[in-house]
């Protein structure tokens, strides 16, 4: 196929969540039945290996998943019932600060009045009386009390407070497969890619498969997981390890049964710090997904298995802990030196993977696929420009993810192991983060602390983690007009927030109650 011919065929390699989410987002924008369009439709082909089981990255999403699902055309009721999904309102951190039963939240809702008023400095004088998140966001209390972010009468995808999901990744991939093939016209091929045939300019011309012959395409999307079949295997784009900043390279994962069918479903991801890493605890309606992330350089598998066992025993009882088995996952934290090369772009674990703190895996898939859907190159000539833009944007995003995740560790006062002591070693802190921490000692993060319009972590996220972890920003020593304005608004905002908290706590159903109702009655679309 010549490069100036029609540009209309996308081939996706990989049938995991990344592959199908990408297929769904691209098809929703670029494909339509012949009766509903005046121009030719894009053709989207997904090749799935029948021999490789998917890893199922991430059981936690960001609020962005709501608009992603809406865009793809899946009803929220169908999603919740088919994927064993529940509502997630943010992360609840335990024992990160000093390890003595401390906790704080990073809710999905930004502080009250955030667009006009920075409440951080107004809250600081009261820091011993009320936590930052409690003072500025009604969501904090809902998270601690396992309450839902909406009611049964709230329409699909609408909310009382912002939310994402916890989900069963395998079931999610299955739902997406059904939807993409039956409703969006994606072609699903079961085959192994055995070779790549190239064009003169180095582009991929086609993929040679064992069961489906040669599959030609104009753009090839590598969603093949950590193997990175095309970007790594074929193009040999180097992998950049980030282990020097974020040590975790292993995890023990398990599925934990509830004691009773009526046990509460947590409405946040619980992240509980341990001597050699941290435990994630994700509540689905039918079970919990619990695992321990750690650094293999700092702890043995047995030490970690003991910690994980203790956590499960403490939260579900010794009997359930005894019958829970662990599965080990190893990963190399980092990402490719670039993600889009020639006519091939990597999305998902083929692009990179870093520990699941703050659940950035699925949102990166959504952001990557959304950008490709929006900026899809009309012809080969413009592809290089789009590729450069894509690479710049995602390299920046990865650097910000690394900084933001590292922030959680450097603020900790824990010193109960080499793991925590090494984490505050200045040599392990990205220089960008060191600079920001110095800056934030003198001024609180706000809108100017993020430079992109579509920043992954808004400045509010930095506030929640900094002040949740006990960070102190010095008060200004000279007059600022904005300080007096903020302080004038603060009292009203704090009291409005307290009022809203009270009102939500008394009207929101529990996470479980709402999920049960949705399984019976469904949510209305309006």
């Amino acid at each position: 196929m010549m490069s100036n011919q029609s540009f209309n065929r996308i081939v996706i390699v990989g049938g995991g969540t990344a592959g199908w989410l990408t297929a769904g987002l691209l098809a929703a924008e670029h494909c339509a039945p012949s009766g509903k369009r005046s121009l030719p439709s894009m053709e989207i082909i997904l090749i799935e290996s029948p021999d490789i089981s998917t890893i199922g990255v991430g059981e936690g999403t960001w609020p962005s998943m709501r608009s992603t699902l809406k865009k793809i055309g899946i009803s929220e009721t169908e999603f919740i019932t088919a994927c064993d999904a529940s509502f997630k309102q943010g992360t609840l951190f335990q024992n990160w600060k000093n390890g003595f039963d401390d906790s704080y939240t990073h809710p999905f809702t930004v502080p009250r009045g955030y667009a006009e008023t920075n409440l951080a400095m107004q809250w600081q004088p009261f820091r011993d009386k009320v936590s930052f998140a409690e003072a500025v966001s009604a969501q904090n209390r809902l998270m601690f009390e396992n309450l839902a972010p909406k009611q049964i009468s709230t329409p699909e995808y609408a909310f009382n407070v912002n939310y994402g999901y916890h989900l069963n990744a395998a079931k999610f991939a299955q739902l997406l497969t059904e939807h993409c093939t039956k409703k969006l016209g994606v072609t699903h091929l079961m085959a192994n890619v055995v070779a790549v045939s190239s064009k003169d300019n180095g582009d991929i011309a086609s993929l040679v498969t064992d069961a489906q012959g040669d599959v030609h395409g104009d753009l090839f999307i590598d969603c093949s997981g950590t193997r990175a079949l095309l970007l790594g295997g074929h193009f040999d784009i180097p992998f950049c390890s980030k282990k020097q900043f974020l040590f975790n390279d292993s995890a023990l994962a398990s599925q934990v049964a509830y004691r009773h069918g009526s046990d509460p479903i947590a409405s946040s991801t619980i992240s509980c710090a341990q001597p050699h890493g941290w435990v994630w605890d994700i509540g689905l309606p039918s079970r919990r997904g619990v695992g321990h992330v750690y650094s293999s350089a700092h702890a043995t598998d047995d030490q970690v298995a003991d910690s994980l066992h203790s956590y499960i025993a403490a939260t579900a009882g010794e009997e359930i802990a005894k019958s829970t088995s662990f599965r080990k996952v190893s990963f190399n934290p980092g990402h490719r030196a670039k993600f889009w090369h020639k006519n091939c772009v990597a999305i998902g674990m083929s692009a990179g993977f870093i520990e699941p703190l703050e659940a950035s895996a699925l949102v990166l898939v959504e952001l990557s696929a959304a950008m490709i859907a929006e900026q899809f190159p009309t012809n080969r000539k413009v592809m290089d420009a789009v590729a450069k833009r894509f690479n710049d944007k995602f390299l920046y995003r990865w650097s910000k993810i690394i900084e933001f995740l590292k922030l959680h560790y450097v603020l900790s006062q824990r010193s109960d192991s080499d793991y925590w002591r090494d984490n505050v070693d200045t040599n392990t802190i990205p220089s960008g983060l060191t600079d920001l921490l110095e800056l934030w000692r003198w001024q609180s993060p706000w809108h100017r602390d993020t430079t992109h319009v579509d920043e992954m972590f808004p400045s509010a996220s930095y506030q929640y983690v900094l002040y949740g972890m006990g960070f102190v920003t010095q008060a200004h020593t000279t007059y600022r007009k904005s300080d007096t304005e903020f302080s004038r608004h603060a009292e009203a905002l704090f009291s409005e927030n307290a009022k809203q908290t009270q009102q939500l706590v008394s009207t929101m159903p529990s996470n479980r109650e709402l999920i049960d109702k949705i399984h019976i009655h469904g949510l209305q679309s309006i």
Partner: protein, 242 residues
């Protein structure tokens, strides 16, 4: 609170029910559930909208009596000033329930319950439930008929709103009412027939809706909007006199 007891001619032989329409008997309601079988009467008096059941989130049609919580603009010193009072209002203080019964074709038997805590229920005033010989009074016979109609109406409503949802015929709306004195009221949480969509329905869909008995109900709900203006006028009059 309510305290429903299954009606029993031996235990409840001297019970009476006050049928007067007054605030102290709980008639100061803003709206009440209605059913397509009574839409013809309802639409001549009240606007028909839809709202969501707080327990299930499902829609049901409702007749509007006021523009804010606990306001019934039809309630006067002389009672309920309208030619028709909705079935779901008239049913109080009774409720229809079911008891398992193998003798019945569907394995259950309807039973009438009465709310002993309802202020209408007493032993001196109002309509008797039973005659001296223990047989039901005409009043109770009427109530039983009413409860049976309501039960059938509930089932019919489920199918009705499902047909509306399936055909994308409902939409949320906010009504901004400006009274004569300039004060503003905002009505939220209600849904109405999405008229542009209604007029786009193809022949097959219209035929199906008609066969199910829903088409007439849809147009009656649309026609009932004409009752909104008199309601706002009533509200203005109340605002002026107070």
């Amino acid at each position: 609170m309510t305290d429903y007891k299954v009606l029993n001619k031996d235990l409840h032989s001297d019970l009476r029910v006050i049928t007067a329409r007054e605030k102290r008997y709980g008639d100061n309601v803003m709206h009440a559930m209605t059913f397509p079988i009574e839409f013809r009467d309802i639409q001549s008096c009240y606007p028909i909208f839809f709202c969501k059941d707080t327990e299930s989130g499902s829609f049901y049609p409702t007749a509007l009596f006021g523009l804010e919580q606990n306001e019934n603009l039809f309630l006067t010193d002389d009672g309920w000033d309208a030619t028709y009072i909705p079935m779901s209002v008239r049913r109080h203080p009774f409720l229809i329930g079911f008891q398992a019964d193998d003798q019945q074709p569907d394995g259950r038997r309807p039973v009438v319950s009465v709310d002993m805590d309802n202020p209408r229920v007493n032993t001196s005033d109002g309509e008797s439930l039973f005659l001296a010989d223990g047989t039901p009074s005409n009043y109770l016979t009427d109530i039983i008929g009413l409860l049976e109609s309501i039960h059938a109406g509930h089932e019919h409503n489920k199918e009705f709103v499902q047909a509306l949802v399936d055909n994308d015929l409902l939409e949320a709306f906010t009504l901004e009412v400006t009274l004569k004195d300039g004060s503003k009221n905002q009505l939220t949480g209600f849904y109405t027939i999405k008229e542009p969509k209604l007029y786009e329905l193809d022949g097959n869909t219209l035929e199906a809706l008609n066969k199910q008995g829903f088409l007439q109900a849809i147009f009656m709900a649309v026609a009932s909007h004409a009752r909104l203006r008199p309601l706002v006028e009533k509200k203005s009059a109340v605002a002026e006199s107070s």
